[in-house]
């Protein structure tokens, strides 16, 4: 166009007009925004990344992105002996390391066909339940904090601190316990530990009740949780949810009852089930579970028999360290087990326990060697996180943190 013929006024307007000024909205309410939550977000409990498509404040869809904590434990397992892998299980669900230790050795024992003595079974039950309490206490604190209540976090951690002191007495360390051994335990439970657990339990119920009182009569907390994060029972089963997530959907399924392991058949406890399928129902299920755990712990402490803690199977169960220094047989066995492994027969098994987050299972394939040929960790957090897109759809952006809190994911376990 010949610029000289154009009206100078129009020419100035045209120069001012660029892409930004000429954008037109057909309908301003029909514009989606994509929000990137995490991996460095405090409410994502670790390194969960969430891509959320928003329409105003409503979530249209959400895509979780995992793998920020992937350490390749399944690959490591193929290159370590069965014993060497026990410390790695601490780092899976790092809020309940004792339960992971138990689940892993149960799988190896099933593969190798080792039966552990009754005393060891009871101590393992105590381990599992203490781990459940510790894990649920962290969940309680962090979830309450996610929706704005800071006091419960401090109270929850105060109680967890006492459990870790018990772990210190029981296993010798507070956090990464590595307590179990194939065919038994690293050490026996002392009377001092028993007394410490009793003393803890005696005051715990009341303290838990105090935390509970702060929340269940709190209108803000109830409003933020009730009806949020709904997932239908059919969807929950189809996705494969387990643990408190499934029991909050009205499905009574608990591996301690349905596929009994350890000494659970001898203990009397209820399985709390709620039917509301929302965040509040998951809150109640976990609160009730903690009370049931206290019941189980009392019974286990009462019923625990005296006796050996290691199976008598010298070719596959590690001898006591003191004895390897003075006894020839023990020295040879220790050398063989440490250097060549326990060589379970050729075969494959799957063993699961009811962890604090759901079904924690190990699938093991043995080719008769000292190393497992394949180890697969069925981690509850990984599967439970899959329900996030379903639960988040149609919710408000401010509810995302409450919903993630109610799933209770631990990324160390989800990413393996």
């Amino acid at each position: 166009m010949d610029t000289t013929t154009v009206d100078p006024k129009k020419r100035i307007f045209r120069a001012l007009e660029d892409q930004d000024t000429s954008v037109t909205f057909d309908d301003p309410l029909e514009n989606d925004m994509i929000l990137n939550m995490g991996p460095q977000h405090p409410a994502t409990h670790g390194v969960l990344r969430l891509l959320v498509r928003l329409d105003g404040e409503t979530i249209v869809s959400a895509v979780p992105d995992l793998g920020y904590l992937h350490r390749g434990y399944e690959k490591i397992a193929e290159n370590t002996t069965y014993h060497e892998f026990i410390p790695h299980t601490d780092r899976l669900d790092y809020l309940s390391p004792l339960a992971n230790n138990v689940a892993y050795v149960l799988a190896v024992e099933k593969l190798a066909g080792i039966e552990v003595p009754r005393r060891a079974q009871f101590i393992r039950v105590i381990c599992c339940e203490l781990a459940r309490l510790a894990s649920h206490l962290v969940w309680l604190g962090t979830m309450a904090m996610d929706v704005g209540a800071v006091t419960v976090l401090l109270w929850g951690f105060r109680e967890r601190e006492k459990i870790q002191d018990i772990w210190d007495l029981l296993t010798g360390v507070r956090f990464t316990t590595s307590f179990t051994r194939i065919g038994g335990l690293a050490q026996d439970m002392s009377d001092e530990t028993t007394a410490a657990i009793r003393a803890f339990l005696d005051q715990f119920s009341e303290n838990l009740h105090e935390s509970e009182k702060l929340l269940i009569k709190n209108k803000i907390f109830i409003d933020r949780c009730e009806g949020i994060g709904y997932i239908s029972p059919a969807d929950a089963i189809n996705i494969g949810l387990t643990g408190p997530m499934l029991r909050a959907c009205g499905v009574e399924h608990d591996l301690r009852r349905d596929e009994p392991y350890l000494s659970y058949p001898e203990l009397d406890f209820d399985i709390p089930v709620y039917h509301d399928c929302d965040t509040l129902a998951r809150f109640y299920v976990r609160m009730q579970e903690m009370k049931e755990s206290v019941k189980i712990l009392y019974q286990a402490l009462d019923k625990i028999p005296n006796g050996q803690i290691n199976a008598s199977d010298p070719k596959r169960v590690l001898p006591k360290k003191e004895r390897t220094y003075s006894k020839m047989e023990e020295l040879i066995h220790d050398f063989m087990i440490v250097n060549f492994g326990i060589n379970p027969p050729i075969g494959e098994i799957y063993q699961a326990i009811e962890g604090s987050k759901g079904e924690l299972g190990f699938y093991l394939v043995s080719h008769g060697e000292g190393y497992p040929w394949r180890l697969k960790i069925r981690s509850p957090s990984f599967v439970n996180l899959q329900s996030l897109p379903v639960m988040l759809k149609g919710q408000m952006i401010s509810d995302v943190v409450a919903i993630i809190g109610s799933v209770d994911p631990v990324m160390g376990e989800a990413d393996k």
Binding site: N238, Y350, R374
Partner: protein, 160 residues
């Protein structure tokens, strides 16, 4: 329960079953690759068996000349409280198997994980991306020929 499962499966899919094995009380059924979705659909829908939940799905590398890979399906029936393991074998020349996401939506991520770790391609999968490794990564780390220390330079690190 074991007998019912075996009976019903052999009656209906006798030509698709390679063999049935029991070890330490766990039932494993090895299937032909083509039949996997039909068998899963049948196990899921059957009123008596009712395998309504897929607990786990995994790949495995056996590092042998024929049928190198396996995909293992760990099913659980909430009604019968019974576990069943299905397996299909996959040859290196044809790394494709049909996805079971149409039967259990929970298979989605687990198939993505098996694809990521072993390179097994699940046909008809709605969203077959890598689960853990970055999208531009070229290898499949859980294969037996992938070295434990990794392959230097295979992961692009951020520039300093």
């Amino acid at each position: 329960m074991k007998d019912t499962v075996v009976e019903k499966l052999t009656a209906r899919f006798s030509e698709s079953i390679e063999f049935i094995n029991e070890y330490r009380g766990e039932l494993t059924v090895v299937l032909k690759k083509k039949a996997i979705v039909d068998v899963c659909r049948f196990l899921h829908d059957d009123d008596e068996l009712h395998f309504d939940s897929l607990r786990d799905l995994l790949g495995a590398d056996y590092y042998r000349p024929d049928d190198r890979y396996e995909v293992v399906y760990n099913l659980f029936s909430l009604k019968n409280k019974f576990r069943l393991r299905l397996k299909v074998r996959i040859d290196e020349s044809d790394l494709h198997v049909l996805s079971v996401t149409s039967v259990w939506s929970g298979a989605n991520w687990q198939e993505r994980e098996a694809y990521d770790m072993f390179g097994i391609v699940f046909d008809d999968h709605p969203d077959l991306r890598r689960m853990y490794m970055p999208e531009e990564f070229e290898h499949h780390p859980l294969r037996k020929d992938f070295p434990l220390m990794g392959i230097p330079g295979s992961l692009a690190l951020p520039r300093k």
